[in-house]
């Protein structure tokens, strides 16, 4: 099977999975989490409730509600987000780029730190360095996110502030006052990118500063995973016969490791990284909440605790879409990396 055929087939399945996700989402937000609860307050007269139900379309049979929901979904009529105080689509327009920016930043850290650590660990297998790196990576996957986030916030933001030292911002995406003085036109929504292409270096650096702590938090949790995979796959590859061939045919050790072994070892790392990136996009909920980073995750926490069904639906559909899309991309990249894979 050709790769494009495979991709088309996967996209078919993707639609199927997304349809399933919408059903699940719909079930959750319409039936499990009664959306009415959010639209009725203690002052609402009981007589007014049927009218509210009618306005929300809750009086129709479920399957019709679902069809309407699907129609709205494909026409991007995603409803009003009560927690964002704006239409859901607009909220995503504001918040999704923020999440993407955060994900990219932490992803860069993860790769730049995680992969070299894994390789060093594999090359110095069973040495002190290896053990230190293993402990480090195990700690990374064992540490509670919120604990790490708060600790970082405390050490790099609160403490220096109290001591009157320069501190890292612990909150938000950009300093509101600075932003007021040096506004940036929204182009992609990626604050750093936008401000850079507009030559606004003040905002660019401020936005970068705001990214450091949340990106570090997110990164630290995943570095462990990347390091472990990089290490074990590098060890695995170094054990392979073709490495012996390369050595036996007199190739220099550096070349054997950094060219021959590395490319093979990177295949699983790439797969993991793709999935990780998807996870970062969809899963920065706690980090965003703690650092008040105005991304999707923060919004979702609010949305769930206030039964904002439209926002929940939008988030789940988007997150699932990202998940399946990234899975597809990972598989395609995998095939590109490993010529043995056939579909």
């Amino acid at each position: 099977m050709k790769l494009y055929e495979y991709s088309i087939r996967r996209i078919f399945l993707l639609i199927f999975v997304l349809l399933g996700v919408t059903i699940l989402t719909f079930y959750l937000s319409r039936i499990v989490l009664n959306p009415l609860g959010a639209y009725v307050t203690e002052r609402t007269r009981p007589e007014a409730i049927p009218a509210i139900e009618k306005r929300l379309g809750l009086d129709k049979p479920f399957y019709i509600q679902y069809i309407i929901y699907l129609q709205d979904l494909v026409t991007f009529n995603w409803g009003w987000s009560r927690v964002a105080h704006m239409p859901v689509i607009e909220a995503l327009f504001y918040r999704f780029p923020a999440t993407v920016e955060l994900a990219i930043a932490s992803f860069i850290i993860i790769i730049l730190v995680g992969v070299p650590l894994g390789i060093i660990s594999a090359l110095k297998n069973n040495s002190v360095v290896d053990h230190a790196i293993r402990i480090f990576s195990l700690t990374g996957i064992s540490i509670p996110v919120f604990w790490l986030a708060l600790t970082l916030q405390y050490s790099f933001s609160y403490l220096p502030k109290v001591a009157g030292l320069p501190s890292l911002p612990s909150n938000g995406r950009v300093d509101a006052l600075l932003y007021q003085q040096y506004p940036v036109n929204r182009i992609t929504g990626l604050m750093i990118f936008d401000s850079l292409i507009q030559g606004n270096f003040i905002i660019a650096s401020d936005a970068l500063l705001h990214l450091i702590l949340p990106a570090m938090t997110l990164a630290f949790l995943s570095i462990g995973a990347v390091t472990r995979v990089a290490r074990s796959s590098m060890l695995e590859v170094l054990r392979q016969d073709y490495i012996s061939t390369a050595r036996a045919y007199g190739l220099p050790e550096r070349m054997v490791i950094y060219k021959y072994a590395l490319k093979n070892a990177m295949i699983p790392v790439t797969t993991l990284s793709g999935l990780l990136f998807g996870g970062l996009l969809a899963g920065a909920i706690i980090t965003e909440s703690i650092f008040a980073f105005p991304g999707m995750g923060q919004l979702t926490v609010f949305a769930i605790s206030s039964n904002d069904s439209y926002t929940i639906m939008a988030f789940t559909v988007l997150a699932s879409f990202i998940y399946v899309l990234i899975n597809l991309l990972v598989d395609i990249v995998y095939a590109k990396l490993d010529p043995r894979i056939k579909y």
């Binding site: 099977m1 055929e5 088309i8 087939r9 078919f12 579909y343």
Partner: protein, 321 residues
Amino acid sequence: MVTEVVKIENLTKHFPIVGGILQKTIGYVYAVNDVTMSVREGETHGLVGESGSGKTTVGRIIVKLTNPTSGRIIFDGEDITRVKGEALRNYRRKVQMVFQDPYASMNPRMTVKSALLEVMKIHSMHKGSEYEYATKLMERVGMSEEHLYRYPHELSGGQRQRVVIARALSVEPKFIVLDEPTASLDVSVQAQVLDLLKELQKQYSYSYLLITHNLAIIKYISHRTTVMYRGVWVETAPTQELFKNPQHPYTIALMSAVPVPDPTLRREKIILKGEPPNPIEKVVACPFQDRCPYVMDVCREKMPPDTDLGSEHLVRCWLRA
């Protein structure tokens, strides 16, 4: 009159290759193409060929691990090609198989004892005396009662294969498919296992279908032999006759290619050029045409007919037709 325990007629197996957006069958691997052969009671029939010749598939079809695309399997005069359920269970009490890698063909988390007793329980044999029977089986394959309590990884390669044989014997079959039974064993152990198989046959007159790539083993143990190439049988004859008087160019080349551990013997070797053809191409003419030193035009057009050379020696080659 010798009776044929198993007879396969025009056996064909094509594995579909699935592909495309809708996961349709877009081609086939032509594994076995029109194979006919039989195994007689109390004798060993060797099935020899190189990798990809379809010999293992024939074995798996006979024990019904997979169904043939066409053709018939006749066991004890009964057509069992499509049997299911209880009939299949009955069939499998008479037919057993020993696999190439004894370690892989044993459940690593079961002791020898539980593996043996499980079989007897399933077939409700030797009720109440399962254990005694298991001990007897172990003795029969040259092992002791003590070995019953071992896990596969606590046994050596030869012992494992003995246990696998004992397990196959536990249902008291008439016929056993031996799929490269010694390929994973060292020479010194291989001899023990081969002798055991021979001894068992002598005592209990089992019929064997011995699948192997090793001509030396064929020569040592089998009574009659069929040579396969690319899913097609090319020659079949009593082993003695085959070795003395090989007729098919492939058989001849194969025999000359086998290294002989006698440095004094200087033979002229026939070196075949090329490699076996791709099994996804349908076999319409002689499968050996591309490598045959004597290839003729007719070889590329039609499948050679089965030619009886007398004394049960059959060959499929236009040279002999």
